[in-house]
Symmetry: C2
Subunit: 334 residues, 2 copies
DNA sequence: ATGAAAGCGCTAACAA
DNA sequence: TTGTTAGCGCTTTCAT
């Protein structure tokens, strides 16, 4: 059991080895009689086709490589879970690679991924160099970036509409009456961080306001430090737009427990992602929702499309994100 | 690039195909001259050995299957990340399978895992049936259960010392002066849930106290409902031991925001796991720390040991867990 | 140390 | 529909 070959099944069933193969190959033809005999013999022997051998011939491993940087931001485990489920439903599985977000690290990991003959690659929160893109394209392996955009073509990317999202946040904060607004931005080395900031600044600039900006690097400690810096000023902001929820929680912790300020009375806070924790009573965070389910669907669909038809062009998909009004800002709640 | 074979490298280097194989096979011998020539040719062609082909021959895929139920409890993504890193350092990679914690689901997933010829399996927060254990053993594939114990032998299991942990919690709560204590337990279908409860009840019983117990099923909503039930009584508890942090956060949310009670002044709360969020100011949760790093190390070590030497016996490892005193209980802080 | 040859378990022409 | 025959890209005897 466990190491039964198709040949053994063939002998027991009294058919050829290829007959066995056909019975287990979707879309191959065999007579009802043969199928019956083979299934029976396979059952008795506990036979299951060897995926590795199949993969070597067909060139399809049914494995998708997932490159992910950090799992401490709740958004990514969630995405991973959904991604895994969606892919599993299609008969694919996820080989997980963790990589710090440095070029060298990503490069090495991608190479390993190619070694494993993965059918496709999803990168979550990780940037691609154009060299890497070229390598994957040359190898004929479709890549979809999840929650990161890319300027140069050749890679598919699924994000939410981050520029528009930043604009929404800007307009909302203005509508709440805030004029002294700060932004603890997402990492400026990431497209998401830059886009959100850009949309936000656009709107404020048009209102004649120049927000103070500090790069929070998607890091709790950095965001906490930024909060201290911001609030230690002569005219501290009365609203802070934080580049993602993960940092926003740190900002709220710092504001409330360390500085003794009230949210939203003294300072309003707004995040980005709408991870489950944002809805929990302890934070009740107003935030831009990134619809994980829809982003996952789009990611899987894009990947499968290119798997089915390798000539399908790389796509760039943006999912709209709604503002979720909660208790960390003063406006009307949703 | 990407589909270069060892034969092409051999031709370019002017050596045999097996020479190329030797150069890329750890522990094979080749002259410095050959190595030099082969490496050069491989470099120029962008050759990398095909892991699938190698796997088929050696019978070793260098892939470890990870079965995980839910990723919304912060403890598991963290474990996944560490596990992935540790395994990656040893040249192994993780194929992730998500499975609801039902027997049928786990069964199916395990079978798929075997199809992929994984070298070993780690199950996180998932139970094993003895039938499944037998199947994996028959296939010669070592299984290590992470954060779940198993009575019958044949599988390795790494947990923290949950019975002792429950006892520690019991003693601590008593030492804080609590006498009316409730327990929202971990799922009683899991060994961890049962063990923690058992240790806890042992200690309280010896002190002549019978705690009220409700199964929280490791679920936020269930835990919140349990909290309401508990506090709606005539003599509500002044301390609640919750089966894991994930539920404890829901308990605190319910207590503070919904019921308007203060923690720990009105009710003390203590959790289990010490996920990062437990240390954040918003919760500041007293909890039993499950040392993820040490548990991961033990898991990887156990797995590798059985991979190296298949005759190595299945091991049951318990890691001690310390009590982390924070603000959700009244005693002295750590 | 190296090359030739034999497979690993399977799928995919090709005949029959 | 079925069996026969080649391989997929590699590791591993076995000679040399």
């Amino acid at each position: 059991m466990g190491n039964v070959t198709s040949l053994q099944v063939a002998e027991r069933a009294g058919v050829s080895q290829s007959a066995v193969s056909r019975v287990f190959t979707p879309g191959a033809s065999a007579s009802a009689k043969t199928v019956e005999k083979v299934r029976k013999a396979a059952q008795e022997l506990g036979y299951r086709p060897n995926m590795m051998a199949r993969a070597m011939i067909t060139g399809k491993s049914r494995i998708i490589g997932l490159v992910v940087a950090y799992l401490d931001n709740q958004f990514y485990p969630l995405a991973l879970e959904r991604l895994s489920n969606a892919l599993q439903a299609q008969g694919y599985h996820i080989l997980v690679f963790t990589a710090a977000n440095s070029r060298a690290d990503v490069e090495e990991v991608m190479q390993e991924l190619l070694d494993f003959q993965v059918d496709g690659i999803i990168t979550a929160s990780v940037g691609m160099t154009s060299d890497l893109t070229a390598r994957c394209n040359a190898a004929g392996i479709p890549v979809v970036m999840f929650n990161r955009g890319q300027d140069g073509a050749g890679v598919s990317a699924v994000t939410s509409a981050n520029v528009a999202g930043g604009e929404t946040v800007g307009r909302y904060l203005l509508s709440c009456g805030h004029r002294n607004i700060a932004h603890i931005s997402g990492w400026q080395g990431s497209s998401t961080g830059r886009d959100r900031q850009q949309g936000f600044v656009n709107v404020l600039t048009q209102a004649g306001i120049t927000p103070q900006i500090i790069d929070g690097m998607y890091d709790r400690d950095t965001a906490a430090a930024a909060t201290r810096t911001l609030m230690a000023q002569d005219a501290p902001p009365d609203a802070i737009f934080v580049g993602n929820d993960h940092m926003a929680f740190a900002v709220m912790d710092t504001l409330r427990q360390e500085l003794g300020l009230r949210v939203p009375d003294d300072v309003a806070v707004i995040g980005y992602d709408d991870v489950p924790l944002a809805a929990w009573a302890a934070y009740d965070l107003t935030t831009m929702r990134q619809p994980v389910n829809r982003m996952v669907e789009a990611t899987v669909a894009t990947l499968l499309a290119r798997l089915t038809d390798p000539t399908a062009p790389a796509k760039r998909i943006e999912i709209d994100s709604p503002l979720i009004r909660r208790g960390s800002t003063k406006g009307p709640k949703a």
